[in-house]
């Protein structure tokens, strides 16, 4: 706080007892501080002058002793200290010096550093998160030869299937993979047709697994897994073709590999920003989810676009895929919009609209008898 020049000491002179330290030696002295119009006069027990603090340089520091004492800084260099034991003194001072407030001291030198450092930090962080990471990810991914990724994909798929198989102990299914001949006769040609239409550099391998949820996912290395439940729940072969084409879109753009590379880079940058490098706190998790969500939503839209193009070129109807998203939207509805920023996929209604707008195919994915065979592959 600064004493303003319009401090008005009352008569008799306002004074309080306290301790004084001169900031050069630790020895303290018991003193009486008297408030005058242009500052504070500090005198010892005998009345001899000890120091005089001019009003402009006096600061309120803190309230030690559980708030019952008052500590002030002042003097020529601001290093002298006065501790007043009378906590009534503050009220009195405030009454006499209306302009009193706490000022932390001279920060001019520091404030000059603030803007340049802030700009530099924002620049470095922003460049890393929004430029270097996505760009670096894309470069790294293009540098990985398809052969390497295919090998990685096969290994990943086997590991995943083994893990899922260990959780199942159904005597009627020897393993988790549904190896019905319909998979090779019906499903593989469809996938090949879509892959050629989409221009994939390698032929993807599709495996049907008997799991109790309806889903399809693309692993790195052109591996696609489809659950038997999805085959049973799909409204028709064209809908299945749409979902497969979407997954092939992830394969074509190598999103799996990109996500691996990206998550490695995100962690430490985001952690540093919010002060949580280990990433165990809520802030780090939230920031990470937000950023990863944005990138992953982009990936999903890109896969949707690939799917529409592949379906068009293979001359398969795109509308059934849109109705698939309509069903998803109806089921999840309000929750999607509430958590939109955190979700890894864009709102389903939006995806359905996008597909309807661009789908031009008119044909069917497969004849009905083939579809009936396919639906029953997992028994």
């Amino acid at each position: 706080m600064r004493w303003t020049s319009n401090c008005r000491p009352s008569e008799p002179m306002t004074s309080a007892a306290g301790r004084y330290h001169d900031g050069r030696v630790a020895t303290g002295r018991a003193v009486i501080a008297t408030l005058e119009s242009d500052g504070v006069a500090i005198a010892d027990a005998a009345g001899g002058a000890v120091a005089f603090w001019s009003a402009a340089g006096i600061r309120l520091l803190d309230r030690p002793s559980g708030g019952r004492a008052l500590r002030l800084a002042g003097g020529a260099d601001g290093h002298e200290r006065l501790t007043l034991d009378d906590d009534g003194a503050l009220a009195e001072l405030r009454r006499l010096c209306p302009g009193l407030k706490r000022a932390p001291g001279d920060g001019r030198a520091m404030r000059r550093l603030l803007l340049p450092l802030l700009a530099a930090a924002l620049l470095v962080t922003g460049t890393i998160v929004f430029l270097a990471l996505p760009w670096g990810t894309r470069i790294v991914v293009t540098l990985v030869p398809w052969q390497a990724e295919l090998r990685m994909g096969t290994a990943l798929r086997d590991a995943l299937i083994a893990q899922l198989a260990a959780m199942t102990r159904r005597p009627e299914l020897p393993g988790i993979v549904c190896a019905d001949p319909a998979v090779d006769d019906v499903l593989a040609p469809l996938v090949a047709r879509l892959a050629t239409a989409g221009g994939l550099p390698a032929m993807p391998q599709v495996t049907v697994v008997a799991l109790p949820f309806a889903n399809a996912f693309a692993l790195p290395g052109a591996q696609v897994l489809v659950t038997g439940q999805l085959l049973r729940e799909a409204a028709g072969p064209d809908e299945l073709a749409g979902v497969l084409a979407h997954e092939l879109g992830h394969v074509a753009a190598r999103h799996g590999l990109q996500r691996l590379v990206r998550s490695a880079g995100f962690g430490i940058v985001v952690g540093l920003l919010v002060g949580d490098p280990v990433g165990i706190g809520f802030s780090a998790a939230a920031a990470h989810t937000l950023l990863e969500g944005a990138f992953s939503r982009e990936d999903e839209l890109a896969a949707d676009r690939f799917a529409v193009e592949a379906l068009n070129r293979a001359d398969i109807e795109g509308a059934p895929l849109a109705t698939f998203f309509d069903r998803v939207a109806a089921r999840t509805g309000a929750a999607e919009s509430a958590f939109a920023l955190f979700l890894t996929h864009p709102p389903s209604a939006e995806r359905a609209t996008l597909i309807r707008a661009h789908a031009t195919g008119r044909g069917n994915a497969m004849p009905p008898e083939d579809w009936r065979r396919l639906v029953a592959v997992c028994g």
Binding site: D62, T83, V140
Partner: protein, 448 residues
């Protein structure tokens, strides 16, 4: 004008105004160190800090830490005069920005190298991961040493600033070396490592121009330390033993290891109980070591002619700690019970699914199970979050923190403190930015 020399909250003074005592045998009757902070203002401060941190996504933490330190320092008095914290949030923030720039560039480069290696030479990328660990093993002690220096140079007592010389890199290398020794010795060498580093820190700690000296020895603490690494081994060993016994060969199926469904739940229950008891026991043994360690460090420290001693009551501290722990657990259980009281249906369904899962766990992957299990999981998570918040902002501060500070200060005795009246300030000028590396790595795991 009569001058009151001793007020209601004044440290007793000698006739010439000094507060030090003259000889080893004349120890002032009032305890030389005192913590006068009150729980109310402390809770308020924590609450405000938390809210501001929340709305700024953690950017407020520099000012929050500064405010907390100002409170704690100003309520701690030695020989009647309170400590003063002269640090500023802006300094910490600037240091953080600087560290962000440097660390951002460095970790960006390391990340690229690591990722390239991950693809072309997986073995090499494991080695690169090791390099990361090494880098942190050196950077972290360096940052902590520098952070301690910042706290010291921004602390003043009776107008005299603290200080710390010595080299952060020397300290980091010592810390790294001792860390290696500790690991190789399976933790047994910790007291020697601890005291060696403490001696370095203390011998480089200054008050004005005067220097602390420390003659702390690891050997004095070994027997106090030994139960801790023994417990660290005993707990997992006992859990492993229990699990192995439960899984021992089933003669019917002929498999060497098989966990039957009936054995699963009791085994998990016993393992969890062992883990809980073991963890609490470990914490208490560690607490005992920390208390003895503090006493030893104080007893072997000197500042000019002044000697120190410190006492901490392990029993009372442990009691308070357990009280706070049980209070937090009680809050968690109550909140969880309240939340689950409205989920009767979900609980029934989930229980059935879990029963069937013993035959085929893949049933837990189904959509239906997720639909019932998700709300339960969310409620449990919510109860945990509420209990954690209540613990951090209310229970621990109210039950433990303030009491502990008071207990810590009350146990300190200072002998021959006359020299403390004659400490002289040093002439140095201090830098204006905080120790950014420690802040950027957020190594202030304690809020002080």
């Amino acid at each position: 004008m009569a001058l009151p020399l001793a007020g209601p909250h004044r440290y007793p003074h000698n006739e010439d105004g000094t507060t030090g005592d003259r000889g080893v045998s004349e120890i002032a009757t009032e305890p030389p160190a005192r913590f006068s902070g009150r729980t109310g203002p402390y809770l308020g401060l924590l609450a405000v800090n938390f809210l501001l941190n929340l709305v700024t996504f953690g950017f407020y933490r520099f000012w929050a830490r500064t405010r907390l330190r100002r409170f704690l320092w100003s309520q701690t008095s030695v020989l009647g005069d309170a400590l003063e914290y002269r640090g500023r949030g802006l300094e910490l923030f600037l240091g953080f920005l600087l560290a962000m720039v440097i660390l951002g560039l460095v970790s960006g480069a390391i990340g690229i190298v690591q990722l390239t290696l991950a693809i072309y030479w997986p073995v090499g990328s494991q080695a690169a991961g090791l390099l990361n660990v090494l880098m942190l093993a050196i950077l972290i002690p360096f940052a902590r040493y520098r952070a301690r220096r910042y706290r010291l140079i921004r602390t003043a007592w009776r107008g005299i600033r603290g200080g710390q010389d010595g080299s952060g890199w020397h300290y980091a290398l010592r810390s790294f070396g001792w860390g290696f020794v500790t690991i190789v010795s399976l933790g047994l060498a910790r007291p020697w490592a601890d005291m060696a580093l403490t001696r370095y820190r203390m011998n480089h700690t200054l008050v004005g121009r005067q220097r602390f000296t420390s003659t702390a020895r690891g050997g004095a603490l070994f027997w106090t330390w030994l139960p801790v690494p023994l417990m660290t081994i005993a707990v997992p060993a006992s859990i492993g033993f229990v699990v192995m016994t439960a899984m021992w060969g089933d003669p019917d199926t002929g498999l060497p290891f098989e966990m039957t469904a009936e054995a699963l739940v009791p085994t998990i229950a016993i393992a969890l109980a062992l883990l809980a008891a073991g963890t609490v026991g470990w914490v208490l043994l560690n607490l005992r070591y920390l208390c003895r360690r503090w006493t030893h460090i104080a007893a072997t420290a000197r500042l000019v002619h002044t000697l120190f001693s410190a006492r901490l009551s392990v029993g009372r501290i442990a009691g308070r700690w357990l009280l706070a722990l049980f209070a937090s657990l009680a809050v968690f259980v109550l909140v969880l019970a309240a939340m689950l009281a409205t989920s009767g249906n979900e609980i029934v369904v989930v229980r059935e699914y879990l029963r069937f899962a013993q035959d085929g766990p893949d049933i837990l992957l189904s959509d239906t199970f997720e639909r019932f299990a998700m709300p339960l999981a969310l409620k449990a998570g919510g109860a945990l979050a509420i209990a954690w918040l209540a613990g951090r902002l209310l229970i621990w501060p109210a039950v433990f923190d303030i009491w502990f500070m008071r207990h810590l200060c009350a146990g300190i005795a200072i002998a021959d403190s006359a020299a403390l009246d004659r400490l002289v300030e040093s002439e140095r000028t201090d830098p204006r930015t905080g120790e950014g590396l420690a802040d950027a790595l957020d190594l202030e795991l304690s809020p002080f």
